[in-house]
């Protein structure tokens, strides 16, 4: 059936924009690429440079500090299992990517969240953007990421950040807005500046909610990092991807199990950090 109107050339418009950006802002993308690449390499250097048992002990201690004994025990056994199955190297690569993506999400997400909480008009602009970022199929981000940053871990991290950041922004905004109005009145009645109000009252009280957002961001980053292996970000995702394409059920299960262990571990540790210090 014929169309009522000729098709809108949305695809070619987007391509034009992307081309233009690449042409004029190439130096910026190079700079970003260097920074993110550096961060991933740094984490990877630590995580794979140290002997595996050092990392296992450190992570177990961290899990113990953040949570309960059972979580520490799970961390210890889970990591040993990963090492035993031969996925240690790839798991650490994945962890390095997740940490980088998570960290960037926090560095950008919390200030944006604070800004949203401060201004209703900012919130009105940012909220639909976040909806867009979260509902767009994750694979779609890979395409411009490749275009600007090539193949490899950097576009993987960029796509992960876009996908993972919204919960941090949303929950930072929510957490600050949920601080009871009479507490805000009290801080203002004593003559606090905006910065004092934020750091001494709003952020400490919103901390639990913000940590829930960070936890969500890190979980999303993990799921995206696995997908990003399709564009050459290494790690556990690459193992799963290979197992799928070659229909190797056993290998796929092992790599999948390693991802699940990493996911539970990251989830419990970040949750624990949020709940801690309320004794």
């Amino acid at each position: 059936m014929d169309q009522l109107f000729p098709k809108l050339p949305l695809d070619s418009w987007v391509e034009t924009i992307v081309d233009g950006l690449d042409e004029h802002l190439g130096f910026l993308f190079d700079f970003i690429s260097t920074c993110i690449g550096g961060m991933v390499d740094f984490f990877q250097l630590i995580l794979t440079g140290l002997p595996f048992w050092v990392i296992i002990i450190l992570l177990t201690l961290l899990a113990y500090r953040a949570g309960k004994l059972s979580i520490a025990l799970f961390t210890f056994i889970g990591l040993l299992l990963i090492q035993n199955l031969g996925y240690w190297e790839h798991s650490m690569e994945t962890l390095a990517l997740v940490l980088t993506a998570g960290l960037i999400s926090i560095i950008i997400g919390i200030p944006v969240g604070i800004w949203c909480a401060k201004s209703d008009s900012v919130q009105k602009v940012v909220t639909p953007l976040l909806d867009f970022m979260q509902t767009m199929p994750a694979f779609v981000y890979l395409i411009p990421a490749i275009f600007f940053f090539g193949l490899g871990k950097v576009p993987g991290v960029i796509a992960s950040v876009i996908f993972a950041m919204p919960p941090t922004i949303r929950l930072t905004n929510l957490g600050i807005r949920q601080v009871p109005a009479d507490l805000i009145e009290a801080t203002e009645a004593f003559g606090s500046t905006y910065w004092q109000k934020l750091t001494k009252v709003q952020l400490p009280i919103a901390k639990t909610t913000i940590m829930a957002g960070i936890n969500q961001s890190i979980m999303l980053a993990l799921s995206m990092v696995v997908i990003a292996s399709m564009i050459g970000a290494k790690g556990l995702g690459a193992d799963v991807y290979r197992a799928v394409t070659q229909i190797k059920i056993g290998e796929g299960f092992e790599a999948g199990l390693a991802i699940v262990i990493m996911a539970i571990l990251l989830d419990r540790i970040t949750q624990g950090v949020g709940k801690r210090k309320k004794a």
């Binding site: 009290a186 801080t187 004593f190 003559g191 001494k200 400490p204 009280i205």
Partner: protein, 407 residues
Amino acid sequence: MPKIKVENLTKIFGRQPQRALPYVKQGKTKQEILKETGLTLGVNQASFEVHAGEIFVIMGLSGSGKSTLVRLLNRLIEPTEGRILIDGTDIVSMNTEQLQQVRRKKLGMVFQKFALFPHRTVLENAAYGLEIQGIPKAEREAKAKASLALVGLAGWEASYPEQLSGGMQQRVGLARALANEPDVLLMDEAFSALDPLIRKDMQDELLELQSTMQKTIIFITHDLDEALKIGDRIALMKDGAIVQIGTPEEIMTNPANEYVERFVEDVDRSKVLSAENVMKRAETITLDKGPRVALQMMRDRGVSSLYVVDKKKTLLGVLTADAVSEAKEQGKSLESVLRTEVPKVGPQTLLNELFDLVAFSDIPVAVTGEQDRLLGVIVKGAVLGGLAGKVNQESSLAASEERQVDA
């Protein structure tokens, strides 16, 4: 110079509040303004003065604008129009930094629901106001400790607010406000969330603290009993406007209009009215008269007892009809039958302290002032009349004038 002077302070809530100002000036009511402009009149051209060292109570029912008014005073809510002079300086025209300085140095605030910071210890809460002024930790904690001790919370410094009872939490709120050493305390329904017994304790303590601190306190409440108890002066609000300002007694005895009258109807008058409000003129006689004259006077005035005074109106005793007739029959002088043990009270004695004395006395109770000067007498009927709202206009006015002269 008054500590705080408020002139024509108006707050209109809603978009483009200026639109409603002409209506406000025409004297339209809150309801009319809402109907015509869709804007809510929060505070309607309030003007009043608060003197240093005074407890000024702003009272009204919920929705009367009293909480808005107190928030206008430190600009937690921005006024639509009007001036607020604190120590002669208008704070409405101040910029953010100047306002912050005034809030830090001059205005302390205590909140209805305490508004303590849950993530901070009691000590850190009390030190908050000093902390944001950048005062070093040791100094601010010493001051906060002293302030906590003042409200009876020494030893609780390391606790968190949630571990404290409501009354104790509000003490922390008070200590936090006092730690800054502000001249002015704004107390927004500070005791309303507490149960009645604790509330009464807190009122007593506030009055005790005030007797040594001499702060200027603006106290918001919806409870008339509380207002009458702690207020030096009371401003009554209705629909955003101040209906009447006066001492507790003036408000009780001379309600400005029907609204105030209805408001004060339910109050326990026995806690407000004092002997001088219900006393009657005493029927007196001097001792140089004889028994016949005394009996004649009693018959004429329709009383069964006469108070005996000297020329300076000093109370000497009382003569009952029985005693006088006995004196007349036996030819004794009045002096020999004079009863010198007389029930007497001061003019400021509250009615609820008079009940027993008046009920069990066979003669009217004498009200005496300085040097036993007889001011009047209280009969049983007058106490009941007072409770029903019948009070001596002249005497209470005279008393309040006297007080103003004192001040």
